[in-house]
Symmetry: none
Subunit: 148 residues, 2 copies
DNA sequence: ATATCAAGTGGGAAAAAGTGGGAAATTAAA
DNA sequence: TTTAATTTCCCACTTTTTCCCACTTGATAT
């Protein structure tokens, strides 16, 4: 399971090292896509196959209209990139994705169960401050939904 | 069962020793997460598997499509850490969790049935004073809910 | 009173993780 | 075809983490 927060440097060559704790699970190649909220999603190949099947399956339980789904899929697939992890655990973030979330010299790399998220470090901290305050409510809310 | 209160020191390397009474039950690795209220939760691996299953939306690979779920997962998974207990019973508390609850050089380590909580020692004491006064009422209230 | 043991604390040295940069290889441009 | 630019590969440095050993304190036993 991918968990935890790491603040790493993006060097002049756009490289950023993945936390050692993630490397085994991530394997040699990963898929990096624009994510939801101001971050990027990184999936393992295995996870990406699952996700992409679900997204493209018309029989799924998404309440999207078809046109919306097309747009969403363009967003997720059209700007996804397959990226290799180099011999010492670094990846290269394509410029168009870097720009999308305003990555500069520091990034927050976050493990969220079965995906990794990449954030501008400052945006991540701000975001967590907000979530921190709501966490209690969110827990109650999700707790209720699940025990319905 | 994990019970009792211990005040331990956090050293310069962010290490804190677990009370001997907890060690057997806790095993070799634990998961430490931001808790609810101003403390951290420590789960045994076994307990964490249970908890995380409940937290993630199991029957849905695409739980990231729901905003609330994304926020909460980022909070619970993104700021969790798997930590080894060293040969003499200490754990390492990640900086991001230490900062979250304002841990300085002393922590209160509390056994709460099947999890351990970590508090800033002073916050814990204040909190206890308040709870002390409310304990009677709280008991009534919970009693009523459970016997409904 | 002294020795012994267990629990907790502190610190040095080795190992690992993360960062930076040069040179070779590849691609693009002139 | 040569030159310039970009990308890839590899090595080296720095910082952080881990591992191990030793000290302190307080309780118990001799």
């Amino acid at each position: 399971m991918l968990i935890g927060e790491y603040i790493h440097t993006i060097d002049e060559k756009n490289r950023i090292s993945m936390p050692v704790k993630f490397r085994k699970e991530m394997g040699k190649k990963i898929i990096i896509t624009p994510g939801l909220d101001s971050c990027l999603f990184i999936f393992t190949i295995k996870e990406w196959i699952k996700v992409s099947k679900r997204l493209s399956d018309n029989n799924n339980d998404l309440s999207f209209l078809k046109a919306d789904q097309r747009s969403f899929n363009r967003y997720m697939f059209g700007r996804a990139a397959e990226v290799e992890i180099d011999s010492i655990g670094r990846i290269l973030i394509p410029d168009f994705l870097k720009d999308r979330i305003g990555l500069k010299d520091k990034a927050a790399i976050i493990g969220v169960e079965d995906r990794v998220e990449v954030w501008n470090d400052k945006v991540w901290l701000q975001n967590q401050e907000v979530v921190e305050k709501q966490a209690g409510e969110l827990a109650e809310k999700l707790g209720n939904e699940k025990t319905k």
